[in-house]
Structures are given as structure tokens and as C-alpha cells.
Point group: C2
Chain length 503, copies 2
Amino acid sequence: MSDSPYESLCHAVSDASLISATSSILSWDQETQMPEQGVELRSRQMAQLAKLAHEMGTKPQILHLIDRAEGCAEVAGDPAKAANVREMRRDFERKIKLPSRLVEELARVSSAAQHEWAGARKDSDFKRFLPHLTRLVELNREQADCLGVPEGGERWDALADLYEPGCRATMVSGVFAPLRTRLVALIDRIKGASRGPSDRFNQTAFPIERQRELVRWVSEQIGFDFTRGRLDQSTHPFCGGSHCRDVRMTTRYKETCVNDALGSTMHEAGHGMYEQGLPFSQVGTPLGEAVSLGIHESQSRMWENQVGRSRQFWSWIAPQLPSRIGDPASTFSVDELYGAANIVEPSFIRVEADEATYNLHVMVRFELERALIGGTLEPCDLPGAWNEKYRDYLGLEVPEDRVGCLQDVHWSMGAFGYFPTYTLGTLYAAQFFDTACAGNPGLVEGFTRGQFSPLLAWLQQNIHRHGRRYGPGELCELVTGKPLSAEHFLRYLEGKLAPLYGL
Amino acid sequence: MSDSPYESLCHAVSDASLISATSSILSWDQETQMPEQGVELRSRQMAQLAKLAHEMGTKPQILHLIDRAEGCAEVAGDPAKAANVREMRRDFERKIKLPSRLVEELARVSSAAQHEWAGARKDSDFKRFLPHLTRLVELNREQADCLGVPEGGERWDALADLYEPGCRATMVSGVFAPLRTRLVALIDRIKGASRGPSDRFNQTAFPIERQRELVRWVSEQIGFDFTRGRLDQSTHPFCGGSHCRDVRMTTRYKETCVNDALGSTMHEAGHGMYEQGLPFSQVGTPLGEAVSLGIHESQSRMWENQVGRSRQFWSWIAPQLPSRIGDPASTFSVDELYGAANIVEPSFIRVEADEATYNLHVMVRFELERALIGGTLEPCDLPGAWNEKYRDYLGLEVPEDRVGCLQDVHWSMGAFGYFPTYTLGTLYAAQFFDTACAGNPGLVEGFTRGQFSPLLAWLQQNIHRHGRRYGPGELCELVTGKPLSAEHFLRYLEGKLAPLYGL
């Protein structure tokens, strides 16, 4: 029996996406395994795979198969299959709008820019990075025009849509503005608080080898499946791999801060468990892929924060710490450990920020990239604009660009429109978590006994298994009954920090 | 200025070979890193890359560029470039002879066969493997016919040529027959010897972690460059990677046998240093590739045996062992350590065999695969034929197929014509080594002071840097002034073993 049009389409699409799965393993390898001198040829391998993936994903035969599948009873009668074909069309139409020349130039320029950025950051030398940034902003404006600015929208929207389907700058700023007001007020009250948690635990050294064993064990306990994934070390933690049975996350270690490795690992394990929860039968088609970066981030934030920074989590892990990482851990009470995981302190570096200040870092970046792409901010004026916002939002004077506008890799990679997904994820996490708790009494209490599987099962059932069947906003309404709102997050954060800081 | 025809050809050929470099990293990953459940999709990735590499390597445009380059003054006037184009034509003509259908079927059948072979070996169940072996023999006979049997030759020759250009069964048996007579006689004398080395060192346990540090350090000392390579662990040691700046070797560890890890590592480092010695400027073209598997094996054997089993090597390393792997090492004299590395003992398993018996294992396989491909041995009769030869050559009664004809992976991978390269490499190693010593007085004596760079420099200069400029036989005559002969190896082996066994 020959394949149905839908089956033929799935084969063609997953064949093209197999190249991206290969590319993804090579990226992981580059960050974790590759000998240092391998880099030159590796860039050529990555560029070749990007080109092949673009060629295979834009073959006219795929469009022909989409047309045929859309007209089939098999697809019309099955909402999941219909959603899969809808997303395949979306992907195809997006890819075909980009000329190969632009795809290749973006790959080439951003590869060089990342290299220059790394050097510029090290020397805190913005001028060195400026020509690359300028070119990347130009290319991204061109990319936005190719993709098409949505009606009533702006260029930034066309780029953000690559990471968060349907995302619009006006929608983001509508959510961010009230959030900023409440966060700034909360942080001000914390700054003026008469008491707060001790950071003694974050200053106590524990052997890296023991930390390594601890975070691997915690990953297993919360549900990461090591027969379908790995945990390695890299400078910047990330989660990659090629599909739900080969998920590769990384973390990092600092002798004096167990919470650094623990928080990073639980964050990446949240991403990893989402990937592992996608259906293997749909690998290579949209139903086997994550909805958006925002929804992805909701999974990592939830395990890092709602779970890993909860009092229940610490009361479970506290008695186990001395035998797992060493005797000094026995000198900390549950209260002290819980407090140390929840210290709020405005700082320069986004990736080291606490839950309260983190979103202000994101807002700064969103506003600046929106202005860069919109043409109201010149790249050469970036450092001044950056420093002004840090003064306004966080009350900090940025001493040098290394800890200012040169700190993040994203823009050097050519990624504009990406940053807001971090805060969207934070908000989705709180809203999803409230819904999970409402439907599962005792869910949080279970953490004190190391019971994390009810939460994971809820996420698998309500979010993971759908792949891209629903868009992010649609999924949020389906799961929580409401559109995304910052209220859940603010209530969660204020409810936690007020007692810790005696507000 | 636009590219010359030769430059255009080099770009096209190296572009196609970039896919194989990618595939090679994925193979390494599969053996050393991949989570166990990743295997199903990985087979699909590997098959896709094989197909793409075949398609890109057989594009008519490449033949057109070869034709144009051959007519150019740039190529005619430069023997290295002429050799490069000659080898590109050789590769192209070989690939184009194989129909895509056969390439894909061989890949598919051997992938399934390897899986079945692993299970069959575990259970010592030849019947389970038989249908796969039968099909692989058929497909390889078909492959030989597609490639074309050389005039006056036989089908096996067409397959062996894939691994050792120009290799003929009659040539191999002409070299092997007298070698077998001398080896059998030598082994008989050893069996009857009144004394021999003690294997106490091979029975003494040392922590694996310390062994790991030791073999990494030894690799560095003999010249393996870790900025351009890695050392990992796998069940079967191998050397892979994608090019001379990203060479990946593996080894294995047994607590009670330091010589297992040390020998394996020096062997793979020999392969690895050959790869690292190939010119980076020629990556992806024949001048950047190894001559043949036989020449490759000459490099691994030389570092494993001529260096790693020499008295000079052990007198250098002996005083360092206690601090590197632990105190018990101080109870062994240099003589004892040197002896333990040179024990001769007929055994069932090729990869565990000593220098004297090893080649008899290879001969058994060569004779049997020649008969299988030639049609004078039916696959179902393999176990009986195997066991008979082990009785004749090694005086052993094979108790079960697990340690008999099911022990090696090669045939299940569809590789027939590969085995003799192990012994050819052994003979090349001895002949090359004699030449290196003749031209460098004090070379071997230098090992006692940890001076290995004169040997490596000689190999780089005389062998590595040429890539595929010369064929294996031609290279041997160029370097040593004589065609390949077993004399060098036999003299080396008898000269070493006679005093150890008091013959």
C-alpha cells in the first residue's frame, strides 16, 4: 500500500528536519567536546548543514504535498493532523520568503560577529563590536521586510514571530509596563527592608565532583530520563540534542555556590523534560516540536523557581545534603537554605539575576532592540541608552560595557526579538503552575517527600504531548482558561518575598 | 579573480567530503556519548548523510571539473596537484560504478546485521546471524561485480581495493604463506621453551582513574596534540574524528591490566598522530587523506609495538609508574615490565592477541573471506572452517562461536577485504621502523629519555605529509627503497622473543 498524501508529506518534512537534528548534535559537540582547533572546519560544516536544511525545507515538492494533504479527508477529519499540516505550511511559507543569499549572509556575518563579540566583551571594547552590530541590525531589518511586517505592526514583530509565533511588540509592552511598575516597587521595598535571608550557604565551598553527583541525582529525581539524555558541563548552560530520545543539557559549577549549579541544572532539566515529553512518533514534524521559546522557558522557569526555590523542595533536600556534598552542609537549617536560594539583589548580569530583578534585565533589552530594529536608536548610541535604563530600572551605574550592553550573546548571533520570551516564559510558568496546583491538591506538599512526578505528569498531559498543535496564546487559554497575565507571577513573587524580607 | 579549474575542483570535492566529516563525528558520538535510546533516529541520520555524500560525490559537475583540471598547465606542471586529481578521478569512478540502490541496501542491511550480530555473539548463536551473513556476502559479490574484477584477479580483489588500493589476493597470500610458516615455527619453539616472562604485572590491579591519567600523559609524551584531538573511552577502541584538527581516539580500561589500556592507547594514538600529520590546507581532498588502511595500521602498530613494547620505552616509564598509578608499581623491575608486555600465548580472541600470534588470526580471516566471496565456502559452513583453521594454525579447539567466527564486527558491517590490512600494517611498520632507525642513530636509545619526537618527525616528513600522493606500494619503495617484505618484521620479532624465552 502506498503512502497517503499526509504520510508522504510527513516523510518529506521529517527528512528535511533530520538535517537540523544533525546540526544540533554538532552544536552541542562544539560547546562541550570539540578540541579547540576544530573550530574553523566546524563553521564550514555548520554552514553547509544550514544551507542543506534550507534547500530541503523549501523544495517545491513539499508545497505540492501540503496542497494535496490539505484537500484530503484524512486531514480534514483529524484536528491533530490538520494542525500539523497548518504548521508545515507556516514553516514553508516563512522559509521560502527568505532568499538563500540572505540566509547565508546572516549565517556568515553572525558567525564572524560572535567571534568579535567574544573578544570585545573580554576587553570591554564596544567599538570593536559596533560595525558587526550595525550590519546585523541592517540584515535583520531586511529579514523582517522579507518575512513581512504584520498589519498594524512593526518590523520587530516579524522577527519576534520566529521565536514566539504571534508575538507583537505592543502586546509585550502592554504586559511588561504594569509588571515593571510592580517589580520596581517591590525591589524598592526590599532594598529598604530591615531584615533578609543570609547568603552564607552561597559563600560556602563544596567540591565540584560532589556537586556534579548532586545535580545529576536531582535531575533524575525530578524526572529527567538519562536513557534519553545527558548532562554535561559548558561555560553557558543550555539544552540541546536532536529529538525526544536524545536530549543534551549542560550546567556549570562554582566551588562556592552550589545554587549556581543546582539552579542551572533544574532550569535546563525543565527544558529537557519538555523535549523528552514530545511524542517520538511525531519526530521531525511540527507535532513533535516545542510550541515556542516562551512556552519552553515556562518549563525551565517552573522547575528552577516554582519547584527549586520552594520551601518544600529545600525541606526535602536539606537532610540529604551532608551525605551528598559534604559535612559543612549540616550547619544550615532548612530556613537558611531556602533563604539563600531567594536573595534579591540588583546586579549587572542578567544570567546571575534573582527572580525579582531578572525581568527588569529583560525589559531593558526588549525596549532597546525594539528601538534598534525600529530605527529610533542608532547602534552607536546603544551603550548610553543601556546605562540609562539600568539607572532607571535597577538603580545601578554600569561601570563598563563588559557588564553592560556587551554581556549577552544574542544580538551577536543575529537574534533580535528573542529576549522577551524569557519573561513571557516566567509569566506562563506562574500561570501554569497555579492551574496545576488548583487541580492537584497536595502537589506542592509532595515536594517535601521528593514527589515530583505528579507535576511532571500534569505538564506532559497538558503541554508536552501536544507539540505545536496549539499556538502559545491558545495553549495558555486551553490549559489555564485565561489569556496570559502577569498577576500569577506577581502574586507568587510577592507572596514569597514579603515574609522573607519582613515586608 | 575567479578560481582556476583545479581550485574549483578542490572546492567541489571538499564540499562533498564535508558531509563525511559530519558523519564521522556522529559515529564517534554514537560510540562514546549518545544516550541509549538515541539509536533509532541516529541510524536514520547516518543513512541520510551516506546518501547525501554519495549524491554530492557523484555529481556530473565533478567529472566535468576533473576533465578540465586534467588539461590545465597548473596541474600538468605540479606532481602533487596531478596526484590529487588522479585520486579524485579514482574516487569518482569508483563511486559512480555503484548504483544508489546498492549503496543504500548495503547501508540498510549492514545496519540491521550489526544489531543481529551483537545479539548472536552474546548468545553464541551463529544460526541467528547466518541469514544476514548470507545476504551480505551476496551484496558484496554484487558490489565487486559493479566495481569490476581486475584483469587476472578475483572478486575479493575488487573489495580489498576499497581499503588497500591495488591489493590483490595472490599478492597477499604470497606474502602471508612464508610468514605463516616462520610464525608457526616460532610459536612452537616458544611453547616448548623452558623459561619465559612473568605476567604478574598484568595481574596487578591499579585504579582506573590513575590509568586514565597515565595513558593520557603517555599520549602527550609521544606526540598526540590534545588541542587537535581527544581521548575517550569505548567498548572497542578506535580512532575517528573529522579531520587533522579534530582527531578522536578512544581506549578501554581493565583494572587488572594496565597493558590493555596502555597498548590500546598507544595504538590509537599512532592512528591519531597520522591523522594529525595530514596537511590541513588539503582537508577534504585526497592529499589530505590517509593512503590506505595498511599504511594507517603501520602507524598504530609502530607506536604500540616497536615503541610501546621496547625495552627502552619501559626503562623510561618504569621509574615514573609508582607516582603515576600507585605504589604497587614499584615492586616491578624494568625487565619484569618489559617481559609482561611481550608474553606470547595462543588465544581465541584476535584483539587480545600478542605480536606473534596476532597475524595468524588475520590469516584465518583472510583465507575464509576470500573463499566466501570466491564462492568456494558457503556461509553455513563458516564455523566448521573457522575452527579447523584455529586448530591448524594456533593449536586451539574453539569451544563456541562467540570466541570463534562471531567475535569480529567487520563482516557484519559488510566489510570484506579489510582484515589483511592489519597484517600488511604490521609488516609496513617493521620495514618503516628499520629505515627510520638506519637514518637516525640513537633514535631508539632516545626512548629511554622520553625522546619520541625524532621518530614522529621522521614519520611526518616521510609518510604523513604526503596524504594520498603515493599509493601504498609506491610509498613503501620510496621510503624504504624496497618493496614490502615480511623479513623486517620476522627479524624484529625473533630478535626480541628469542632472548625473552631463552630460545
